[in-house]
Assembly symmetry: D2
Homo-oligomer: 337 residues x 4
């Protein structure tokens, strides 16, 4: 950590600052510049709050050298983490494809979709039971019943199930869910993250619409700090000024997050733009960039879907995407499933 001090800071305040820093167990070295004096802090600075340093009257600016995330940091854990979800590996050369409808709507629908995506090559079933909708007047999901229907679909097809949690008090309902998703809007719902840190379930953590990669990693850190190391990151598009697409897929986040962290990563090409015809190219792009999983919305009848129909693929369209996805996974020397 580097502190840039104000010009002409009084000697007395400088000494007070150095004393305060020494108390925190870090060593302090000074550099005297023409316009600024600089202090370098050496040691474990992760405990030091940047705000508290900035609040010192003699400090003009602070720059972090060490990254603020630890448990998920590749520097301290060089080998890739592989998360197992109901016996399927995410990471380590395996690529999983999670497919299914935005919302679970009824038994026929979810089983029909589950069978169709399985046939096309999907290895996990996604489907929403609790739906975060912008409008309180929109369909909010079937809740507990939705989870029950997902379990039936799992029983029918053998596909592990992934579904989103929106509140801590629903956690008990997720006992048989194989992979619990934290949605983009809850990426910084820290109380929820803490509760999931005390679970032993694998967690799929989606990046918030306007959150940086570092903030995503800090949210993973919340879960891991509680003891749950089974975290999978998910890039699903960020909010920018562009209006032709619903969001902007930050494809560079895939290889860069893998450099910064040892955690596996998923890409959601459906939410990334909201445009079905872009799902295939973005899926292929994610694979060549090293993603460990894809999450794709498929509905047996998009025009009657209760949510997100517009961005869902039909089973036939999904099968066509999977044809190319399978080939590209093989070409990259990886394995589907």
């Amino acid at each position: 950590m580097i502190l840039i001090l104000k010009h002409n800071a009084p000697q007395q305040e400088l000494q007070a600052l150095e004393a305060m820093l020494s108390e925190q167990g870090v060593q302090v070295t000074g550099i005297h510049g023409t316009h600024h004096n600089i202090l370098g802090l050496v040691g474990d600075t992760s405990k030091i709050d940047i705000d508290s340093i900035l609040a010192q009257p003699v400090v003009e600016n602070v720059k972090r050298v060490q990254e603020p995330f630890k448990a998920c940091n590749r520097k301290f854990h060089p080998e890739d983490t592989v998360v197992e979800v109901a016996g399927r590996k995410i990471g380590g050369g395996h690529v999983q494809v999670m497919a299914g409808p935005c919302s679970v709507e009824n038994e026929d629908q979810i089983i029909e979709v589950a069978e169709a995506v399985k046939k096309a090559g999907a290895t996990m079933l996604r489907g929403g039971a609790f739906k975060p909708r912008t409008s309180p007047y929109a369909f909010q999901g079937l809740h507990a019943e939705g989870i029950d229907l997902l379990k039936k679909a799992k029983a029918a097809t053998g596909l592990p199930i992934v579904t989103e949690i929106m509140a801590i008090e629903h956690l008990d309902l997720f006992a048989d869910v194989d992979l619990i998703q934290v949605g983009a809007r809850n990426m910084q719902n820290f109380e929820l993250l803490k509760a999931l840190g005390h679970s032993d379930k694998p967690i799929l953590l989606k990046r918030g619409l306007a959150n940086t990669m570092e903030e995503l990693l800090m949210s993973a850190e919340y879960i891991m700090a509680g003891g749950n190391m089974n975290v999978i990151l998910c890039e699903r598009g960020i909010r920018t000024f562009e209006t032709k697409t619903r969001n902007t897929l930050d494809i560079a986040a895939v290889p860069l997050l893998k450099q910064l962290s040892h955690l596996p990563i998923t890409v959601d090409p459906s939410h990334a733009t909201g445009i079905p015809s872009l799902v295939k190219p973005l899926s292929l792009a994610s694979i060549v960039c090293g993603t460990d999983a894809l999450m794709i919305e498929v509905h047996n009848n998009p025009s009657k879907a209760l949510s997100d129909g517009a961005q869902s693929l039909t089973p036939a369209q999904f099968a066509e995407v999977m044809d190319d996805v399978k080939k590209q996974i093989a070409f990259c020397g990886k394995e589907l499933g």
Copy 2:
């Protein structure tokens, strides 16, 4: 609602679409263009899900005409809403100033700050007991004890208290809190909003870092749909590409939200940029733009604050800001408190 249809859509699919729309109780009128046919839907379209329309194969695009928010919409409620918080009015020509530390740290601190901000003219006390921090390793607040200390400060000064809620299960602890704040990171924590909709407490709803004004209003709508009409909106800066300031204060949101909605509005000039020297100009700007309240961070010893010290004013700096704030409020023909 206007539907733009694909060129050369088959007659049969068009008829199916029109039949589906008629079932939803809206009238359909067609316009036949050179390249596109257009359908206009007349009637109550607020129940119609835009996604389900977009998912129809013959539909190229949909444009909403009616705004999706109703309870908070000024069109249906032309007069200003005035929210009462422990007998103080927010709106209707009254301007409240909520001041206090980012975090409640101990009894001496909160009482000292409360007395200082009261003396300078603040009309409500803010202070965090549950703190949403990016890092799990940072100070997370005193929780229940923090709320108890706020109550002591209220007893000592008579200032109503405002503090942030982070999870539904903490709601019981907020029984004596006068104004419950929903933070920017929880603006779309819909389960929390629904729970607050069933409360009768006034709610201060902060705009998310990357949420549009319309999304803010839709989140207000979540609370109001549950029956709680005591919602105060808060503009606190949005995330942009600019890096010199922590966030970018969207000052135009103040007058525009007042045009769109009858709800009162607060501005938080401290979080808006993170730079103490900008609190005064941004407070004055907010007042001339019509804000009904200000929320300002003040700490008796910013350099020892456990959070957000860098953006806090000292009591002396706050008193100087209040000098000009009071004059500007009077100049605008409004009343402090």
Copy 3:
């Protein structure tokens, strides 16, 4: 074009508006809604200025149905445009790789780099003679001498040359340049675009840092409106809130621009993030998304480069990227060069 009229607009003003619209040669059809009346305009609305409509007192909002771009619009020109640059095809199944230094620095440097990138498989040479630098104190390029050196490198290697133009008055210097680049900062330098519209040179038009895809296409339209149809679009990363990367590559723009327009497209994975280790994955992602060319910064001695050294690849790194790029191009059924 659809006009949403204000509620309770006076009949007289409505008639005035309809008369004004009829004068513009479009047909007007009305839909009468509960809260709004709507007018649909049928015919060629591309000449109608949206602002002038919005300025009518009875108009609340206007929505375009037809896209505002014509010459570059795929709807009116379904087949892909292939631009020839010194005999090399960009588009139509051919992928060109333009490589070279950010700045041309001296004869040895540019010839050494040109030979190295040619050997590794590059098919065109890029190099800056006029450099747009944020700081007036930074190296601004060798100007005319830089172009002369590029010509020498072309003579030595046979690689066509691409370099950036910054002002109309330099156009004569570009007589022997094979492909003229318009940089991101000049994407809306409309006077320059108009001048290039009267040239017969192929133009590489880079997307501005904060410009939408539609604005990029409108800038292409400026060149094409002058008669020059040889325009190649370039996605090079947009400005977002993320700070880990210099820009955010909008990878979805590649397939989407190809849907909207018949023009060929290039991706610049070097400027997209500024991080050399991301050039390979982003190059591969661009290829699977259908790019017709790549533009990659290569320097024989990045640590001594006069500009952008930090994001340049060494010739050895570039050769390694090209190994995978060649394989991926072949796997996609396309041809390098």
Copy 4:
């Protein structure tokens, strides 16, 4: 400037780096950390290119301590600069109001508007002769004739005139223009900035849609480096994700730019949002934040304006805005004109 070195960098490369740095005339001091070594550079580092440092293989990251702008930096020029435009002062307690139409359309229009805005209190006349339009099919301005008409309006009213330049080759036409505007889209048209640096005309430099405050200052630096110190900065709204307003006015930029630089500043509340009803509150907000000028679009017949009619005020609306603007200027202890 602070260099953060890679972990375990070879001793030999470190020595080479230190030697290279010493050659640049700066002193180097090292700090040895657990995970990183740090070098602090002391002396005049403004000549050092950050990119060239980042390109050194042993360097992981570089942090600037000194700001890269000098001529416009308040640190080296503490007192406010006052720019005189045809005898009117911008800065130093004087506030100018520039008003007029987006485009000059004909003699009657510009003279009528000029007289109306003068009567309402405007102190300068704005009007576009060269118009940067997104579409090549939109009205592009009257060019030389437009400037002639502005001169006639000046002769009729005595108001100094401000109009936009779009290309260096038009500079001769601007001989009688009192204040030359560089538009947002040309803020980084560096060749134009250089040319204006050799002029002695006052320059109004608008912030680009997606440019940081630092980039705005660096563009001012381009003009000043050529010898022209008469630069006025202009905040006119930046591009964000919000869609209800055309742009987002970065109101905090007004006081912050004044802290960073001694140059005077203007705000354009018309372009900032594109919504006429927001011009008054944003004008008042700009004044309390310390702006030295306002630039407001006024048209005698907005519904027939050839450009930007939708965001123009009528003369009557402008007069009403000016009533409050005058009072607020006086309340702030400043002088209109």
